[in-house]
């Protein structure tokens, strides 16, 4: 028996496909444009192409929100599957106009009610909130019970990690402070936190190892955690494994995911990065 409450999110959320299937989360794909060709975030697999476009002259990847039609189609599918209420958890509204379009689209659709919840997040910062909501929905909780439990999540959700370089974030135009003391003489890897839509430079390191240690110490301070996800792009496998093991003590294994950053997130942060998304427990 399908739940009457369903969750919808977008292609920025970087949810692992098996989780999407298991929890019945609807993902509206995002469009990518690379070298004159158009791709959809959910079916895009050519990572080599993406890295090439980030690294050399074939032109930075561009991204575009789903069309009204795509939103309405997604809502209609959910309604047809029996949903009466849809909870929308999308990329932070100050970083993208996507959630605004989702709301506009809902006004042209009358099959179910859309409840937008501000995530203030990107990537698995959105994904973890969607998983949280979908778990409640799967247990059959009514929307009046789910919403008051999902709405406070943004306040407790953080994305934190190291970027291989800041240039991609800078070029994406998504942060204004991106010149903060990173110089351009030495190779510096910024450590960045995102919380409630606000990005902040948290530290500067020069090696993967130091980034790893700093992120682990951040997680230690943030613990206890309800949910935790490792986010990575092109991280050396041995580093990734060490990272995963070091983080295990801080969260219940059932609420711990390892995800490769998706193409949309990647096109904004660049080809190398390592970090976490975390939902802090209520203290």
């Amino acid at each position: 028996m399908g739940s009457r409450v369903r969750i919808i999110t977008d292609g920025v959320a970087d949810l692992p496909p098996d989780v999407v299937t298991r929890l019945g989360i609807k993902v509206v794909p995002i469009h990518l444009f690379i070298g004159g060709h158009s791709y959809r975030s959910d079916t895009f697999t050519d990572r080599e192409l993406l890295y090439r476009s980030l690294q050399d002259g074939i032109g930075r990847p561009q991204t575009a929100s789903p069309s009204m039609h795509e939103f309405v189609t997604a809502y209609t599918e959910l309604a047809n599957e029996g949903a009466t209420d849809i909870i929308g958890l999308f990329v932070a509204s100050n970083l993208s106009g996507l959630s605004g379009q989702a709301l506009l689209a809902s006004q042209q659709f009358h099959g179910a009610r859309l409840h937008l919840v501000e995530t203030g997040q990107v990537s698995m910062g959105v994904g973890l909130q969607a998983i949280y909501a979908a778990n409640l929905a799967a247990q059959g909780a009514p929307v009046a019970e789910i919403l008051p439990r999902v709405q406070p999540l943004a306040q407790r959700t953080y994305v934190m990690g190291m970027l291989g370089a800041l240039e991609h974030l800078r070029a994406s135009g998504r942060v204004s402070w991106a010149q903060a003391w990173l110089g351009d003489l030495l190779q510096i890897k910024p450590l960045i936190t995102l919380h409630l839509g606000e990005a902040r430079l948290w530290g500067r390191v020069r090696t993967y190892r130091n980034a790893l240690l700093r992120i682990i110490s951040w997680v230690r301070e943030a613990a206890p955690l309800e949910h935790l996800a490792v986010l990575h792009t092109l991280a050396p496998p041995e580093i990734l494994e060490e990272f995963r093991e070091a983080l295990l003590p801080f969260v219940d294994g059932n609420n711990f995911w390892v995800c490769e950053a998706g193409p949309v997130f990647l096109s904004h942060i660049g080809p190398t990065g390592l970090g976490v998304a975390a939902v802090k427990a209520v203290r």
Binding site: W181, L182, L185, L186, Q187, I188, W202, G203, T207, Y208
Partner: protein, 570 residues
Amino acid sequence: MEQVTGTHLDLGGQELKQMIRAALTWLRQHQAAINALNVFPVPDGDTGTNMTLTMTSAWNEIEYLTEDNIGEIAGKVAYGALMGARGNSGVILSQIWRGVARGLDHHARMDVQSLSEAMQRASETAYKGVVKPVEGTILTIIREVAEEAQVAAEQTTDVLLMLERLVRRAKAAEARTPTLLPVLRQAGVVDSGGQGLVIILEGMLRSLQGLSVEELERSVQSAQVVDLSTVDVHGPGMSDNEMLEFDANYPYDVQFIVMGRDYNLDVAAIRASIEAMGDCPLVVGDARAVKVHVHVADPGVAISFGVQQGSLRDVVVENMAEQYEEFIAGRNAARAASLGADSPAVLLEAEPQAIGVVAVAVGDGMEKVFRSLGATAVVRGGQTMNPSTADILEALQTLKTEQAVILPNNKNIIMAAQQAAELSELEVAVVPTRSLPQGIGALLALDQQATLDGNVAAMLRAARDVITGEVTYAVRDVALDEVTVHEGDAIGLLDGTLTAAADTFEEVVRHLLAKIPLDDRELVTLYYGADVSEGEALSLKDELAEAYPALEFEVISGGQAHYPYLFSVE
């Protein structure tokens, strides 16, 4: 009981003044010899030069005084030494003078009892100034001198006889330093700071004995002393660094000392007025004398203000705009250009900072690296030219923050930095970085949102995480730490320890890298010095990258003198 001659029962301020002058002259004669006592055969912060500069600053304070009160004169000497303190030996020397001044405070004249008291205080103050006192150094000398003084004061009333005994004891203690400090024994030298103190005491004694202090032939003054004259140009407002930074709205650099009448100077009030006048204000001193330095639009305003406070001394007015143009046009044009226009000046003001950073660095490239990573002020200095306490203090005064961190980036500058931190009105912490790469590591760990204490701990941890390699040439023969080197050899140090010697600098880099445990290390940053071409550095990099495929290599123009290569392994 010895016979009382009656000629030297006590001394006045003018006699002390002559003794200080003699000590300085005598020290200058021996400067090169003291410099040569460096334990490490590297072109390092020279003890003789540092102590001479410290004593010069002390002498400048009393040069024109006709005061005969010895407590007054000693106070001025201590103040001058404090402001001019350079290098660890200079700082300890300034502490010794501070102790002497305390011992002689409120004494119009000095007899054997007050001389003994002065020596006790000098010893105590010197030991207190050092976090971990090491025997076999200048500290041992002053302690033994104080012990001798205590005994001698009971046995004679003649200050001259007593001083003779103190000098004899100082020399004996100095000769024993190699037995107390293994590193000296290994290097086959006596302690250089201790030797400096012996020379100062001896110069003072010679003055009292009526012996000349200038009888040594001038030839003793080798290149080191010639260097000093160029080095000495560096008064406040005159360093290359500052000239490049001057604000065109305040083209005049004004310096003077206000001498108060009857301890009537209000330092805080003077500082407030001077700060309101212009840029880069530095106001230090006490109720008796205040040193003022400020960049202003109209020097007349500052000087008129000074005259209202007391009598003026050592007035210096310089037109920095003129100097700046000369400087740009001069032989350093290339360097000036590279530092001026394209240095990220805008970034410096980009974000409000809670914690200012003063970094000591040598080399244009190094200075740029520090600035690009957020250092608010860079004090020029390093291996061969240690900045004084006053230099660092002046940099602190330019900060617009309440809190600051100093990165000395050289073990021989740590104490001067600590002294400056204590003197500053800001809340200042010293992160005792011992090399430029350590300083860079520390600076990267700075978090403007964290507390000062938290930052110091994190920065120190980050600094220690960096392995530093330094490649230079030996300035003399030595067998140390199982490495035998000859003057002129290319040598390499790993985290301050002499580790390798070879025919070429590049070979030393290879040797050093081979000795580092590279597990968990990812990145080698090679900073090439002023005498190495970019091509040479890049071809060394290519070769190393091939030999160590697991490591990433980065090449940066450091522009540092004396060290063809510095590198960090992270």
